[in-house]
Assembly symmetry: C2
Homo-oligomer: 492 residues x 2
Amino acid sequence: MFESAELGHSIEKAAYDQEVPALREALLDAQFDLASAKAFPVIILVAGVDGAGKSATVNTLNEWMDPRHILTHGFSEPSDEELERPHMWRFWRQLPPKGKMGIFDGSWYAWPILERAHGRIKDARLAQSLDQIRRFEEMLINEGALVLKFWMHLSRQAQKKRLRKLESDPLTRWRVTDRDWKHFEMYDAFREVAERTLRSTSTAEAPWTVVEATDPRYQRLTVGRTLLERLRARLDSPAPPSAAVRAPPAAPSIDGLNILRTLDLTRKTEKAEYETELETYQGRLNLLTRHKAFKDHNVVMVFEGADAAGKGGGIRRITQAIDARLYEITPIAAPTEEERAQPYLWRFWRHLPRRGRFAIFDRSWYGRVLVERVEGFCSEADWMRAYGEINDFEDQLARSGAIVAKFWLQISREEQLRRFHERQESKFKRFKITDEDWRNREKWDAYETAVCDMLDRTSTEIAPWTLVESEDKHYGRLKILRTLCARIEEAL
Amino acid sequence: MFESAELGHSIEKAAYDQEVPALREALLDAQFDLASAKAFPVIILVAGVDGAGKSATVNTLNEWMDPRHILTHGFSEPSDEELERPHMWRFWRQLPPKGKMGIFDGSWYAWPILERAHGRIKDARLAQSLDQIRRFEEMLINEGALVLKFWMHLSRQAQKKRLRKLESDPLTRWRVTDRDWKHFEMYDAFREVAERTLRSTSTAEAPWTVVEATDPRYQRLTVGRTLLERLRARLDSPAPPSAAVRAPPAAPSIDGLNILRTLDLTRKTEKAEYETELETYQGRLNLLTRHKAFKDHNVVMVFEGADAAGKGGGIRRITQAIDARLYEITPIAAPTEEERAQPYLWRFWRHLPRRGRFAIFDRSWYGRVLVERVEGFCSEADWMRAYGEINDFEDQLARSGAIVAKFWLQISREEQLRRFHERQESKFKRFKITDEDWRNREKWDAYETAVCDMLDRTSTEIAPWTLVESEDKHYGRLKILRTLCARIEEAL
C-alpha cells in the first residue's frame, strides 16, 4: 500500500513554479463550474501520519481555489452536544451542500485507526467500523457526492529524520514534544492498522490516494492534480453513479396473504377501560422519563400509517405524558432548499435529540420507500438502496443509546373512508383532509405492497416495527403507549 | 405589578369544562391559519416563580394545539458550544420560523433576574441587560414576530402553602428539596427584581401577562384566552408593526465633501516592499493565532466595498496566514428559504465562530443598509432600524470576547472601470464580473451616500470601521493585515 510512497518523490522548484499557475486556473474554473451547477458536493478527506503536512495541504487548497466555496473542518475532541449523538453526527452536520467543497482535516477514519493502533479495540471491532464507513461512503456516492481521500505518508525513516531536524533547530525545537516521540514509537502499529484500513476502504468510487509527504512541492502538486482530474471528469460526464442494489424487494405473495391483511382489525377497547389504562400508561411513561438511567438514553419515535389512521392522536397521547421541554415533534413535509442540497437522510440527522429527550417523527425517512416509491418521486435504485441506508442509520442510533420505536398504524379501507367523511364534516378537523389524501387512497394496493416490503426489510431486533391495529382508536393508542413503555423499561 | 395576581382567582370545574372545547377549537383554527400563511412566527415566553406551573402550562398548550407546529425549548445550563458564543446565541438558534410557534420555558429573562436576585450583579448591570432585552424584542417585533410573555405568579403565602402541602404527602415529598426552601427564603428579593424587570420590559407591543398560579384551571384558561386573542387579532388585521425609527440618517453634506472623498487613493506600496511586509504581517498574524490568550477570543471580520475593490484578494492574504481549520468564510448572497423565514440577522448568528476561530464575512449584515437600501429591497423603516440592530449585534459579539474588524474597501470610479475590463478579458477572472456589477456601477452616488451613513452610524469604539484605500492593491492588502494584527494584539 505504501511502497510507492516511500520512493523519495520530489519536484524541482522550477517545474513546480511552471505548473502551479495553470493548475490553479484550471482548479478555479472547475470550482466555478461546480458552484454554478450546484449538482453535487465534493468531499475531500485529508488523513495520514503525524507531521505529514496535512494542514499545509488543506491551506494550499484554500489558497489555490476560491475559499468562499470551501468549507474546512478540523476535528479534534467532540463537543458535549456531539458526544450526546451518534458518532457520525458531527460529520453529518458538516457535510458540504451541493456546489461546495468540504475539506475534512481529520475524519471518520481517525477513531477506528487510533483506537486499534492503541489496542483499545480488537480486530473485529475495527472490521465492523470499516464496514460501516464503507457503507456511509457508498451512500454519499449514491447521493451524488464526489469523494476524494488523501493519505499523507512518511516512512519510518523520514518521520525520524523530520523530528530530529525540527529538534536541532532552536527555532522549531518547541514543536517537538514527548508526545511526538511517543507517537513515533507506535509508528509500526499505526502503519499496520492504516494499511489494513486503506486496503479495505479503497473502493472503486472512493479510492485512497496515498501521497508521499517528504517533498511539499510533490505533495501539493499530487493533491492538486488528483483533485482537478477527478473533479473535471465528474463535471464533464455527469453520469449519475449507478446505485448498488443489494437485493430486490420481495415479490408480492402469490396467495394474496400479507402481514397487513393478517392483522385483526376488530380489536377494541371500551371507553371506560381505555380511560383507566390511558392514565396508567401515561403515568408510567412520565415516571420512566424521570428515571435516573433515562439520562443516558434518548427516544427516537417514528409514526407511519395510512392517512387518517390516527398518527396525530397517537402522538398526542404520548406528549401529554411528558414534559414539553423533553420532546420535539418533526412533521415531515417537503424538504427545504437547504435540505435538498444534502443527502436524503441529512434532514433527519439534524433533528436527532440530545440524551434524555424524545424526537418524534410524524412520517419519517420511510417516506423514501413509501410515498417516494409509490409516486415515482425517486428512482427505483434510490428507494432500493434506502432499506440498507435506513438500517445503518437506525443501527447507529441504537448503538449511541437511542431507543428506536417505530409504529405502523393500520386501518381498513372502509374505516378510512368513514374518517375522511367525518373530517370533512367537522370544523375542528377539516384542515386535516386534502385532495392529496383522496388521491393516495386510490393507490391503496401499491402502498400495501410498499409497506410489506418495508416491514420485511427494516424491522430489526434493535429497531423493530410495531404494527398497530388502529381501526379502534382506543385500542391503537393504548398499544402504542404500552409498547413505548415496554421498550423504555427494557432499555433502562 | 403582582397585586391583581394575588386575589385568589379561580374557575369552577364546570365552567372550565364548558369553555375548553371551544377554546381549543379556536386555537387550532388560529394555529392552522398561522401555519398556512407562514407570515410571522409566534414567540411565547413562560417565566415566573418556582412551582408556579410553568411546565404544566407549556404542556397544556402542546396538548390543546397541534404540537407538530410548536417548538418547545427548555433552557437550563448552556452547552459548551453555547458558552463559546454570545449569551443570546442559544435563543437565536431556537427561534421559530414563520408559521410556527416557539415556546420558551426559561428565556433571556432568567439570567438577569437570577443574577440580580442573588446579588451577583448590580442594579446598573441589570438595567443594561433589560435595555438589551427590550431592544432585542423590539427587533423581533419589527421583523414581524408576535411576542407573548407570561409571568406565572404565586404570592409568598401561596408558595409556602404549596411547599408544605407537597411535603405532607409521602407520595410527593421527594419533590421538595432543600434547594426549594432556599429559593423560598429569597422570595422577597426575587419578587422585587422580577417586579422591576416586568415593569421595565412591558412594552406596548410585548406586554407581560401576569397570571395567578394558585388555581390551574384559571391559569390555563388565562393563558389560552390571551394567546387566542392576540393571535387572532394579528391574523385578522395583519398590519405590519410600524418600525420605530430612532433617528433619520444624516442629510448629504451640502458642500459635497464626505469621508470617502477625503481618502487619499494615491497611496501606494511598491512590489518589493509589499512582499517583505506581507511576509512579516502574515507571520505575525499566524503567531497571534497560536498565542495562548487567543483561545479566549474569536475574530469576526466583515469585508464590504465597491465591486472589484479587492475583497477576495484581501481575504485571501489573511487566510493564507492561518490554519484552514480555524476559519470559515461566509459569502453573503441571496438568503436561503430557511433564512428568509427568520429575522434578518439570523443568517449571520448561525455562522458565529467558537472561540479561537475566525468568521470571515464576504459582504455581511451591512447589505441591509447598502444594497437593500439602494435597490429598495426593503422598506425605509427596515433599513433605518438596522443601524441600531447592527450596533446591538456587534456589541454582543464584542462583549462575548469577539474581535470585530470591519473593512470598507474604496476605489475610484475610474479604477473600477479598468478592473471590470481587465476581468472580462481574463479567463482566470471572467466569472467575477456580471451584468449586475455594471448595473450597480450606475448607482455609484446612491451607494456613496449609503456608505457614508453607514460609517457615521456604525463605526463604534468596540467595532470600528477601517477605511481601506484600495486603488493600489498592495497598499490595501497590507493595511488590512496591519489593522487586523493590531486589533488582535490589542485584545490579547
